[in-house]
């Protein structure tokens, strides 16, 4: 019955009610559009780096040992050594005992994928000129499955890397500089001066010039052969975890357990996290501001209605409606505005995001993306609806309380 009264009062002031609801609709539309678009962009920018980054990277860091031999001499324990010009001992860049580590990682239940990798420093032979480069020896199947390698292929077929012996996938920048196409053969020279022919089976573009101008990919066996190393030679082991949040902790654990150096994804990409956070803050700040403005609109319109409906409130009270009933009538009006405006906002927000999703967004740096990225997360719709209800509740609460406190005697006597 109270809802019925609220409805009648609102229909009598349809234009004002619609304006109030449109305010909410606008706020929620902007929220949905902004948050979906911004998080979509965030996801795209992050994935640019993070897709290709292992959760934990195991490698052998070449540094001077932390405990120098002189510190282990018992007779000198009480003295403080000064050593100048400390150098690392004659170590290798490969990971020691790599096969055993890989086996242990594969048996770890927290680990989804383990992929050994070889970083080979080479020169691309371009006539008389040698270009600096790095060839990554990778397991192409794992890279495709877990690190979205195929998303970044712009020519050729990545699976050929395993099928064709002595094959290579060139970075876009390298390929452009060397003026080569698919199926052609290039020559590379390793650090020791050995020259090897490699067949180009694909071209790869990550979108970061510093990577695309230098790096190329080959199979693990090819890279080992290129370096003249045995099949147990690996410079990196990439680990993908079931729970990425565990990465820093697990990285530390591996470091201790295997006596290797490790780097987790959070540490390696801290700047991306903070960029994402700032963009999210901006999105929410803009949306909340819009909703607060909409809330003030509802507050004003309800306040105005209460002044207009003083007589009605007085008569309702005189005929036996309590202050609580009157308050509920105005709360109902506010919440109906909130629900209808909120649902309208979700619909318009969806429409706008779909429109944005269809706007072409072609950039050479991002071969896998054709249109602006949108993140359709159902949670944002829940948050949007909760936002609209919360705003209208607060905006309705104060006028409703005021209405409930109106003294009918003052109104009736005032006539």
């Amino acid at each position: 019955m109270l809802l019925d009264i609220a409805k009648t009062l609102m229909l009598a002031r349809l234009r004002h009610s619609v304006i109030a609801a449109v305010g909410v609709t606008f706020g929620i539309t902007m929220f949905i559009t902004l948050v979906s678009f911004m998080t979509g962009l965030n996801g795209m920018l992050d994935s640019l780096i993070l897709n290709r980054t292992p959760h934990v990277r195991i490698y052998n860091n070449i540094t001077a040992t932390e405990i120098q031999p002189i510190e282990q001499v018992d007779s000198l324990k009480s003295s403080y050594p000064f050593i100048s010009s400390v150098k690392p001992a004659n170590t290798r860049v490969e990971i020691y005992n790599s096969l055993a580590i890989i086996k242990a990682l594969k048996n770890d239940s927290r680990v989804i994928a383990v992929s050994p990798k070889i970083n080979a420093q080479v020169f691309y032979n371009l006539g008389a000129i040698d270009l600096n480069g790095i060839i990554n020896g990778i397991d192409i199947n794992i890279e495709n499955k877990h690190y979205r390698f195929n998303d970044y292929m712009i020519a050729g077929n990545s699976a050929d890397l395993e099928k064709v012996t002595n094959s290579i996938i060139l970075g876009k920048g390298v390929a452009d500089k060397m003026l080569v196409n698919l199926g052609e053969t290039i020559y590379v020279t390793n650090a020791k001066g050995d020259r090897t022919p490699l067949k180009v089976v694909g071209i790869f573009q990550l979108g970061l010039a510093t990577v695309d101008d230098i790096q190329s990919y080959s199979s693990i066996a090819t890279a080992q052969k290129l370096m003249g190393e045995p099949s147990s030679y690996f410079t990196d082991i990439q680990v993908k975890l079931a729970d990425v949040a565990m990465a820093p902790q697990i990285a530390k654990e591996f470091k201790k357990r295997f006596g290797v150096d490790t780097e987790d994804i959070q540490t390696a990409n801290a700047q991306f996290e903070s960029g994402t956070r700032v963009r999210n803050i901006i999105t929410y700040a803009v949306s909340v501001t819009l909703l607060i403005v909409a809330g003030f609109g509802i507050y004003n319109i309800l306040n105005m209605m209460i002044y207009e409906k003083m007589d009605a409130i007085a008569i309702l009270k005189a005929t036996g409606f309590s202050g609580g009933d009157v308050s509920k009538i105005f709360m109902n009006m506010s919440m109906v505005i909130g629900i209808l405006g909120g649902i309208g906002g979700l619909i318009f927000g969806t429409v706008f995001t779909i429109i944005i999703d269809h706007i072409p967004f072609k950039t050479a740096a991002l071969p896998a993306i054709d249109t602006y990225p949108i993140n359709y997360n159902p949670w944002y719709y829940v948050i949007g609806l909760v936002f609209s209800l919360a705003t209208t509740f607060v905006a309705g609460y104060f006028p409703a309380r005021k209405a409930s406190r109106i003294d009918p005697v003052l109104i009736i006597r005032g006539k």
């Binding site: 019955m1 009264i5 009648t8 009062l9 229909l11 009598a12 007589d311 009605a312 007085a314 008569i315 309702l316 009270k317 005189a318 005929t319 036996g320 409606f321 309590s322 202050g323 609580g324 009933d325 003294d407 009918p408 005697v409 009736i412 006597r413 006539k415």
Partner: protein, 224 residues
């Protein structure tokens, strides 16, 4: 005869702009079936008294009983329920809700009371409108009616819950003499035919003269 309403030593002060005694030690009773008029000059406190008797004004000294229950200690919610169930109100101005139809206006207090189902309430409201000769206006919006018709709708509304007592605050104060006579006849008729207890505040002497009992007030006191 049963006492419907009793005021015991009701005193009321106004504090603005200076302390002023609006009602001074008012005591009287109203019995079942009485048609009672309170009259007096403008500013004598008769309307103030009615607002206290109707439980809308709670800022007074003394005690008020309706149907043997003390109203003085009740909270706002309980008083709302008392007004809804036991008191019917007709004001000088009709005070209908202009957005609602005539029928809805009459039905509202009964819907709030929720003793009857909606179809029964509707039938009862139509019955009341018929008795007051305005059933053909039932589906019109309240603001489309003339002054006399509006007041008849207000009377129908005040009777919908079969109140213990019907209170009128200058019910003819805003009507021409012809409509005043119609409204008075309605009051008289329901007082006689249905033994409806009626308490009317009025300065219309013709109206007062034709009631069962008159209380005259002056300067916040009952003088006769």
């Amino acid at each position: 005869m049963k006492t419907v309403l009793e005021a015991r030593a009701v005193t009321k002060y106004f504090h603005d702009p200076v302390k002023f005694t609006a009602l001074n030690n008012i005591s009287f009773t109203v019995s079942t079936g009485e048609f009672l008029a309170i009259t007096g000059k403008s500013g004598c406190g008769k309307s103030t008294l009615l607002y206290i008797l109707s439980t809308m004004d709670t800022d007074y000294e003394g005690e008020l009983f309706i149907d043997g229950q003390s109203m003085t200690q009740m909270n706002g919610h309980q008083l709302s329920h008392i007004r809804n169930e036991k008191i019917g109100f007709v004001f000088q101005f009709h005070y209908l809700l202009p957005e609602f139809t005539v029928l809805k206006n009459v039905m509202l207090p009964a819907v709030k009371l929720a003793k009857l189902e909606l179809p029964e309430i509707e039938a009862k409201a139509i019955g009341l409108l018929k008795r007051l000769g305005i059933e053909n206006q039932a589906s019109k919006a309240a603001h489309q009616l003339s002054g006399g018709q509006k007041q008849r709708v207000a009377i129908a509304r005040s009777l919908i819950n079969d109140p213990l007592i019907l209170m009128g605050d200058e019910p003819t104060g805003n009507l021409d003499s012809k409509n005043s006579a119609v409204v008075f006849d309605i009051f008289k008729e329901i007082a006689v035919e249905q033994k409806q207890t009626i308490l009317v505040v009025t300065h219309d002497e013709d109206f007062a003269r034709n009631t069962d009992r008159i209380i005259v007030m002056d300067d916040g006191k009952i003088i006769s």
